[in-house]
């Protein structure tokens, strides 16, 4: 403490302007100190890069059936020139899928869908969950009771089972799968927001705003909600991981993305009976799902530590 004070006075004396350090800068610095978070950020950056550039870096069109284009067979094993595959054969580093398409190109395009699934479902769940949680926490009483009991009911089902049930009602398809996963993830965000609202609702600065004539909306969104932001970011990052995993499971069961969409879960699902004859068609999509989920998990854990106010003494 003494040290910082001295620094400030010194800077003041010399007439230099003090650079303020925002919470985000501190968070970034802390995040960069954690190896695991860096690994997560690295994988994620690679994925985003692939998702943005796949139409240029993919060697083939992911929907193109190669019958008559090249002399390749359905479910042909990978052919990598560097690993001794004869150079007169076309290179397919992850092999050919059951419908004679290049597996590697499909895998690259799958990154777009996975990231899109993660962000849209969690975005949807955060918006709805925040509204519900804020209402429950701020108004209390029967509003709180009704909303939170409803959330309890949703939480009473294992999330994947509930998502399966909802998709069956809505009909299979990517959009409905996204909606189902969005719905089942609402309760965790509602809980996080409600807890933050409850913890600051009676604070003096909130009463002060009310005394100054601030309306409910202003109090809720300008005074109370900023407190819920950090737990929401952490929960959201980890939630993306779960959402991607659940969406892949739904597609695997044939309830999510439908063929020929290059989605990892559905690519894996359509080849699952060939695991003994063409294991590469099962291995690579699963590996891609795992790496994506891993990157969000590592980043989420890193953010939780970086944003933890209890660790504030470790200054940025």
């Amino acid at each position: 403490m003494d040290n910082t004070n001295k620094k400030i006075t010194k800077l003041d004396v010399e007439g230099l302007s003090l650079k303020s350090v925002s919470l985000w800068q501190i968070t970034w610095r802390r995040l960069f100190r954690r190896k695991s978070a860096l690994v997560g950020l690295g994988i994620l950056s690679l994925l985003v890069f692939i998702a943005l550039t796949c139409q240029w870096i993919a060697p083939y069109n992911p929907y193109n059936v190669l019958i008559g284009v090249e002399s390749v067979k359905s479910r042909q094993a990978p052919c990598i020139h560097l690993l001794g595959c004869p150079s007169d054969q076309p290179q397919h580093i992850m092999g050919i899928d059951g419908n004679v398409r290049d597996e590697f190109s499909r895998l690259l395009f799958g990154s777009r869908l996975s990231l899109m699934i993660g962000f849209t479902t969690v975005g949807f769940a955060i918006v709805i969950g925040t509204i519900l949680g804020a209402l429950a926490g701020y108004f209390g009483g029967w509003v709180d009771n009704v909303i939170m009991r409803l959330m309890d009911v949703l939480l009473a089902f294992p999330s994947l089972l509930l998502a399966i049930a909802i998709v069956t009602v809505l009909g299979p398809g990517l959009q409905n799968a996204l909606l189902a996963i969005g719905i089942v993830s609402i309760p965790s965000y509602a809980r996080v927001v409600r807890a933050s609202v409850l913890s600051v609702r009676e604070m003096d600065y909130v009463s002060a705003t009310r005394a100054l004539g601030g309306g409910t909306i202003q109090i809720l969104f300008r005074r109370i909600m900023p407190n819920a932001l950090t737990p929401l970011i952490v929960q959201g990052t980890l939630g993306i991981a779960t959402a991607i995993l659940d969406a892949a499971a739904l597609s695997f069961l044939g309830l999510g993305a439908q063929p020929p969409t290059p989605e990892w879960g559905s690519m894996l699902g359509s080849e699952r009976n060939q695991v003994f004859t063409a294991p590469y068609l099962v291995f690579y999509p699963g590996l891609a799902i795992m790496l994506t989920v891993l990157s969000f998990n590592l980043l989420g854990d890193g953010l939780r530590d970086a944003l933890d106010p209890r660790l504030a003494h470790i200054s940025g």
């Binding site: 009911v153 294992p158 089972l161 891993l294």
Partner: protein
């Protein structure tokens, strides 16, 4: 303690009613005509009307709901359209598979997860710790269905012919039969009674059956078939348990009373197990309770991959076939099971930590 238990018990009643309502609503909202889904596309209107009337589907929705709740409270889950059998009987046949699988997965994850977590905490920042946490991170990120398929590929194909080969599907090898317990013990119980149901239920869990009848061949075969699905299903909870044990042990190991215990000369192992681990158990109870819900969800995928006819796979099949009776019954049973588990977790919390009771 009693007040706490009662309050906790009554607070779960609205949730139970909510579950009944949600399952009822979901099964009635499933698009498509149940009659033609069961009797085939060519069923005539006359046959269909009769079918709908027989199953009470022509009555007003609130009446259907009231009838439904009344029946469930009497333990009657109705009949399956598809199998024309009471749903409870189908449930009785399929549930033991899922229960056996879930418990095997849970036991596996506890047996591996807890020691790994303790070692990681005690040897904080050592290579064991780094490696364990690396694997734990991978473990929670792995899609269950992918892990299952890869395990099947490795153990059933790559290791074929070695002593490590394991079967990729089913519960028992051809020719191995689990005896009916009632017959084995020479008990005369009539079908339909509660004692028959319980004995039948236990008998359908192959491992338990083998242990009770002392049938070692059956035990070996059942375990062989159980290992791969249990490993696939148990990996995520195992990773969660290892992480939770580690962080909760790290919290406790930093406490003053641990230093005191060490300072007064107690052996390190005694301090770790008696002073530290017991206090680190509390957060672990929550994770175990929550994991069981995940296990039930993961059972759908695991049972599909390993061709096990358990509750999860039947539920999935019933949904695609619009078999209302099974969908309702199985979701209700799974959700109620989950609520009861959480109740048990909360109660064990109160038992483990006296401060909670007084709240």
């Amino acid at each position: 303690m009693t007040t706490y238990l009662l309050r906790r018990f009554f607070s779960s009643i609205p949730v139970l009613i909510g579950i009944l309502f949600v399952t009822f609503a979901l099964s009635r909202l499933i698009p498509g005509d149940p009659c033609r889904a069961i009797l085939g596309e060519k069923a005539t209107d006359k046959v269909c009307n009769e079918f709908i009337h027989r199953h009470g589907l022509d009555r007003p929705i609130p009446v259907q709901f009231a009838v439904y709740v009344g029946e469930i409270s009497r333990g009657d889950f109705g009949t399956s359209f598809r199998y024309s059998q009471p749903v409870t009987r189908i449930l009785g046949e399929r549930l033991p598979t899922t229960v056996e699988l879930s418990f095997a997965a849970l036991i596996l994850s506890l047996l591996v997860g807890i020691p790994l977590g303790i070692i990681s905490a005690v040897r904080h920042n050592s290579w064991v710790d780094v490696l364990t946490m690396f694997w734990a991170n991978i473990g929670v990120s792995m899609p269950v269905f992918w892990l299952g398929l890869m395990l099947a590929y490795i153990f059933a194909l790559l290791l074929k012919g070695t002593p490590f080969a394991l079967p990729p599907s089913g519960r028992l090898s051809a020719g191995v039969i689990a005896p009916t317990l009632a017959d084995f013990w020479g008990l005369s119980v009539t079908k339909g009674t509660i004692s028959y149901t319980i004995i039948d239920f236990i008998g359908r869990m192959n491992v338990l059956n083998a242990l009770l009848t002392g049938n070692w061949e059956l035990l070996g075969d059942a375990l062989k078939h159980l290992i791969l699905p249990a490993a696939a299903l148990g990996t995520i909870p195992m990773a969660l348990i290892a992480r939770m044990t580690r962080s909760s042990m790290l919290d406790v190991l930093g406490q003053d009373y641990i230093r005191t215990a060490r300072a007064k000369g107690l052996a390190k192992s005694l301090v770790i197990m008696k002073h530290a681990f017991r206090n680190a158990l509390l957060p672990l109870a929550t994770i175990v309770g929550l994991s069981l819900g995940g296990l039930l969800g993961g059972a759908v995928l695991t049972e599909t991959i390993f061709s096990l006819s358990g509750v999860g796979r039947s539920l999935y099949e019933a949904i695609t076939a619009r078999d209302y009776g099974i969908v309702q019954a199985f979701t209700v049973v799974i959700a109620v099971f989950f609520v009861v588990l959480n109740l048990i977790v909360d109660i064990s919390y109160a038992y483990l930590d006296p401060r909670i009771r007084l709240d």
